[in-house]
Amino acid sequence: MAKASTGTLYRGREGMWSWVAHRVTGVGIFFFLLVHVLDTALVRVSPGAYNAVIDTYKSPLMAFGEVVLVAAIAFHAFNGLRVIAVDFFKGGTKHHKTLFWVAMGLWAVVMVGFLWRHIPNSLGGIF
């Protein structure tokens, strides 16, 4: 039997795209945690090796990677709270779009605060 899909994208709204982003950031964070557990466990093997590995992170590429990481975690955290609110609170489903934009507002505030410190720090590290 043929699949009904012709390959076009369903035009969902905030709910669908926040769910897609939640999945993508969730899987991304999972892979980060794998690496994070490995490099942190290295301190038990040898503090020298640990320092050497952490030093390689002081590059513009990794500084950018950290921005992506914090953005993904902050999104996943705030959207996760929104999903909980939608599931558990009476008015949650009615106001899910407002809740989404509130979560995005909080995300933006966290990102501004983080970048405020992170950009000078990472630039200071390079130059």
Binding site: M1, A2, T8, D87, K94
Partner: protein, 265 residues
């Protein structure tokens, strides 16, 4: 002298925007628009392909009228379901411009007719021909939630009374016409055909919260399954797609909460 001049009755009582010729002399304006329809012939095709049709339509027309015009005047092989054509029977759910809609309730004046309008079959059910899908998996999960009154005790000699407040609890979910717009708009349902889907949960909700019904526990047990309400990821596609305006995601959330409070009690 008595004033005998009468104001002319407008031909159309629908207010049309100017680009569709509204505000003119009262005649129903016509315009050309192009439809891109996903065609699939099970005897010759491996997968659906797009075909374009240009038709002259009127400002009061719906997408279903355009499909009729194409079928009756251009290509008689175009296949789609429709029965009442007035948004009651739920036969003509299809994906119009990327969103699940009933073709008979989608007015052309609400679409951007300067662009091509895409029409394709609903997603997640086996495609049979053109815009027709096999609805059997959909009705199978509908039957599983036991969509009928399950009373207990002796049959009363008079009506089963219900207060207005008790009725209001499930009023929203009585409106379902089983068109499958919600179920086939659900990203979970596309990838996991075992999921009961929004429509089944809506119809379970209609009886679970009915004070006259005593089968609520059995239905909650069915929906407590791995493939039951817990599969819902609250994408709200179903709520946006419902042609009857049912708050589908809200109904699913209420069933989830009923399951939680039941296990706590």
């Amino acid at each position: 002298m008595a004033d005998t001049t009468q104001t002319a009755e407008p031909a159309s009582k629908v207010d049309l925007p100017a680009h569709l010729g509204g505000g003119g002399g009262g005649e129903i304006p016509s315009f050309d628009c192009t439809f891109r329809i996903a065609r699939f012939d099970p005897e010759n095709d491996q997968e659906p392909h797009w075909e374009e049709y240009s038709v002259t339509m009127y400002g009061t027309d719906r997408v279903l009228d355009a499909l009729h015009k194409i079928k009756w005047d251009i290509d008689g092989s175009l296949s789609f379901r429709r029965s009442c054509a007035h948004g009651v029977c739920g036969s003509d759910a299809m994906r119009i411009n990327g969103r699940n809609r009933l073709a008979c309730k989608t007015l052309l004046k609400d679409l951007d007719t300067s662009k091509v309008i895409t029409v394709e079959a609903i997603k997640g059910l086996p495609l049979e021909k053109d815009l027709i899908v096999d609805m059997e998996p959909f009705f199978q999960s509908y039957r599983e939630i036991m969509p009928f009154l399950i009373p207990s005790g002796n049959e009363p000699t008079r009506e089963r009374l219900q207060s207005q407040a008790d009725r209001a609890i499930f009023d929203d979910t009585t409106k379902c016409i089983l068109c499958a717009s919600c179920t086939t708009s659900c990203p979970v349902y596309w990838t996991d055909g075992q999921y009961f889907g929004p429509a089944s949960i809506v119809n379970a909700h209609r009886f679970i919260f009915d004070s006259r019904d005593d089968g609520g526990d059995m239905r909650l047990e069915v929906l407590n399954d791995r493939e039951g309400v817990w599969r819902c990821r609250t994408t709200f596609n179903c709520t946006d797609a419902c042609p009857r305006g049912i708050q589908v995601t809200k109904a699913i959330a209420e069933v989830k909460r009923a399951l939680l409070t039941r296990s706590l009690a």
